[in-house]
């Protein structure tokens, strides 16, 4: 039992967080709770503190909308929060799509689908930055928040809180896409919100740290990591995970039997040094 907790503690905490957030939003609409009202695009915390999606606000800005003060305050709060806790902490701790894609990726490995695929997947993880740029270009030219009208994230989240409609189709599409088409396809390759938070997370303080001297090269961390490229240092050097693409999901920490991975506060000056050394070594 203790090992079970030890190996899944962060996963359990993440699911609890994700589901509690959904329940709070749902309760606000259904039963008039006022802890967390609205949805992930913009909400009101404790009837007082505005919270807003900075990526949505960026699209609004590019589309030519006037940004209201409440919105800007909400954007500032959310941006600061993720600057501290890692941009893509949103992806693994808040976003409801994460539950779907994690399920899909679990089934994919259980069915051993990747053993049936001979070729290396041709898709690049930089697609998300292209999609991000494209969303801003379209927002600019069409005068509309381009991603917000197709976002499966808000479709699903809004759907759960306000009524789903055909939103289940979006859920199923993402599930099947990740299962059969591309491993970690949506969250790891395409989602521009993830791309946005990756950029924001470059500067975040909370990081996973690898201690090479403890590592036994079992590679369990690389097996569970949805953004495997961020763990390039495993078994090679003691380095923090500096890539903003790390979602701080902490799966690597909990599966490691050797305590070779842990959360730590980024030591800014030192890490900058490491980062530049790293660049030079490439």
């Amino acid at each position: 039992m203790e090992t079970l907790w030890n190996n899944y503690r962060y996963l359990i905490l993440r699911r609890v967080t994700q589901i509690s957030i959904l329940v709070l939003y749902f309760g606000a609409n259904a039963w008039g709770w006022n802890i967390l009202m609205g949805n992930l695009s913009s909400s009101l915390f404790l009837n007082f503190i505005p919270l807003s999606d900075p990526y949505a606000a960026l699209q609004m800005l590019v589309a030519g909308a006037t940004l209201a003060v409440d919105l800007l305050v909400g954007v500032a709060i959310i941006s600061l929060f993720y600057l501290v806790f890692g941009g893509r902490a949103f992806c693994s701790w808040v976003c409801p799509i994460n539950i779907i894609t994690d399920a899909s990726s679990w089934l994919r490995s259980k069915l051993e689908i990747d053993r049936a695929i001979n070729k290396k997947q041709p898709a690049s993880r930089t697609i998300r930055y292209w999609v991000l740029a494209l969303s801003l270009i379209i927002s600019f030219f069409m005068g509309i928040t381009a991603f917000e009208f197709i976002s499966p994230i808000s479709m699903v989240h809004r759907g759960i809180v306000f009524g789903l409609g055909f939103g289940w189709a979006a859920m199923l599409m993402i599930f099947l896409f990740d299962l059969f088409v591309l491993k970690h396809g949506w969250c790891g390759h395409i989602c521009p919100l993830g791309g946005f938070y990756s950029l924001l997370g470059k500067f975040s303080l909370l990081r996973v740290h690898h201690l090479q001297e403890k590592c036994t090269l079992c590679m369990k961390c690389k097996e569970v990591c949805p953004e495997i490229q961020v763990l390039h240092m495993i078994g090679k050097e003691s380095l923090p995970v500096l890539s903003g693409e790390c979602t701080n999901c902490a799966r690597c920490i909990e599966v490691c039997d050797d305590d070779a991975l842990e959360f730590s506060i980024r030591k800014l000056a030192q890490n900058k040094q490491l980062e530049s050394n790293n660049e030079n070594n490439k």
Partner: protein, 263 residues
């Protein structure tokens, strides 16, 4: 024949070109989809909504207005509703806007897509100046126009006797009854839709349309000469703008000339 390996620079340029090509394809598909998906001219927005074009880019689709609405009037468009996704709207025949004096849906809007100042008179919220749309009567299906007495819409109107008035005319068919016809006063109607909800016909004979769909426009070249206020528009009128060239011929020449230039 063995081909020479591509240089790194060439590879880089080719890969960038591929990326740009794919981005162009997906960009056009995406734009086309969004353009179609946001075209919904018959949608009724919450009170104080800014112009539709601005609304679509300003509304962040958080649903705070829908949560604030005590009557569950406001809905967020779901996939499958064929309306701009996630934006708030209402369907008066289902649940109309009950025109709360404190307008709870408006001040909660974080982005200003619902603009408090447009429903404020002298610093006080005033739902009576809201403009969600305008009621339109189909006098072919309205039974009051048949001569059957019905004033359901008139009674349901929250601006009783102002936004809908009753016009009395003689019923020539019977010779002894009156028609009591509902007439909408479009400048006063807020488009709340309580009339549409109350209408007794199978499909409502009075219904709300967005104002720019329901109304025509005379153009600023028509001036009501009998209306002092309207005449004031002439005072500073000095702009001469024509789209067709004015004929230099005299009127007589023009009338007596050949008909050639007509064909």
């Amino acid at each position: 024949m063995k081909k020479e390996a591509l240089s790194d620079r060439r590879k880089f340029i080719l890969n960038m070109a591929r990326g740009a090509g794919l981005a162009t394809i997906s960009g056009f598909i995406w734009s086309a989809f969004v353009d179609e998906a946001t075209a919904s001219p018959l949608l009724l927005r919450p009170p104080a909504a800014i112009k539709e074009k601005d609304f679509l880019k300003t509304c962040i689709k958080c649903g705070l207005c829908a949560i604030a609405c005590p009557y569950h009037t406001l809905l967020l468009a779901k996939p499958g509703d064929n309306k701009p996704l996630g934006t708030p709207y209402f369907e008066p025949r289902e649940i109309p806007c009950y025109m709360c004096p404190d307008i709870p849906c408006v001040p909660v809007c974080p982005t200003g897509a619902l603009d408090e100042s447009s429903v404020t008179t002298d610093g006080v919220l005033d739902i009576n100046i809201a403009d969600m749309g305008v009621a339109v009567v189909d006098d072919n299906s309205c039974i009051a126009f048949w001569g059957i007495q019905c004033d359901a819409c008139y009674r349901a109107c929250p601006l009783l006797g102002e936004a809908i008035t009753i016009e009395y005319t003689k019923n020539e068919r019977t010779g002894k009854h009156a028609f009591m016809k509902p007439v909408v006063q479009p400048d006063i109607c807020t488009g709340c839709g309580m009339c549409e909800k109350a209408c007794v016909t199978e499909k409502a004979a009075i219904f709300i349309l967005p104002r720019d769909v329901a109304e025509g426009k005379a153009g600023n070249y028509y001036i009501k000469g009998w209306d002092k206020n309207d005449e004031k528009r002439l005072e500073n009128a000095n702009e001469i703008k024509t789209t067709t060239e004015i004929s230099k011929k005299s009127a007589m020449d023009s009338l007596n000339g050949s008909l050639e230039d007509l064909y």
